[in-house]
Symmetry: C2
Subunit: 208 residues, 2 copies
Amino acid sequence: MNIITISREFGSGGRELGKRLAELLGYDYYDKEIISIIAERHGLDEKYVEHTLSSSSWNNTTLHFRHSFSSPVYFHEPKTELLIEQKKVIDEIASQGKNFVIVGRNADILLANHNPFNIFVCADIEARIKRCKDRAEEGEKFSDKELKKNILRIDKNRKLTRYLITEKDWGMKESYHLIVNTTDWEIKKLAASLKGVVEGYFEQNENK
Amino acid sequence: MNIITISREFGSGGRELGKRLAELLGYDYYDKEIISIIAERHGLDEKYVEHTLSSSSWNNTTLHFRHSFSSPVYFHEPKTELLIEQKKVIDEIASQGKNFVIVGRNADILLANHNPFNIFVCADIEARIKRCKDRAEEGEKFSDKELKKNILRIDKNRKLTRYLITEKDWGMKESYHLIVNTTDWEIKKLAASLKGVVEGYFEQNENK
């Protein structure tokens, strides 16, 4: 089974890259699909699940978080509980044995025993602001300053979540096979180029 | 003109990757060739030039270094003078207008106005120790501990030199188009995969 994990800075095009790679390679693709599964199982609203998982509302229970992963004790802190649910869903997906691409969710760490190919996607802040503008829905109007603030806030939360789950820093080169700066790239063409890199990697490491 | 710069952690296979990419793409290749040019021009021993450029012997003149790049004042500190010479040689190479790969020497910064494609090559420390052993000359016997110490010392000097020349940190993802961790790769196969990525990049950015 080949797994590609994509971690990404907000607005860097990581999600599009993951989707395109999955299409080109014929792999399954998981991103918000995981949110939908959790929401459906627990009768929750998808937006609530998504918002809670990406929020910074850890309160005081965060200190217990890593412990709670391996413990039956729940602390009734919504983010903690949802992160545990998310881990379960990811493990279930992996247990199906099919090739897939997964975006975000610290899947590089959660799936480490499956030897995934780990990509981190970043871009210069100006390029990320531009991407956010390009994909904004009609009527959505934010200034560059507001967009930048939002981008940095989201990244800060991702960094914090990663550290609390994994004790590892986010976006450090030691954790990934490849870090790609998409600033000067069209994602569609980048995906086509990276297809060969990923295939080459799995070919070399198929018996590991 | 297409330029590929390769920065690399010691023992990560960056030099081999650069050489193979140059071969595959039909580009010129520069690494120790630059040392030879400097040595020949100034009647110096190549080993002396190489050793001085990679040494940590900056003494007190380091504070003047960045200034001296744009100033006719020389401080008669060997490493500083050789770095200035090295910059001249690199500028001359670029002025020829031919495609090339250059390994090390902070060429990503020195050649920034030519919009090079910048790759940083890294690997886990165990993989780097193994690579050093594999390429050791006959009779060369170092323990893993000695090799590790040596690797980390060389990287520390590279980091320091980069910071003093460029005020930028070494190996930070913001500075490169691609960071590759070679731990699980055979460099020959990696080079073949990356050829397509580099070609794709230059195709997209040829008019910039």
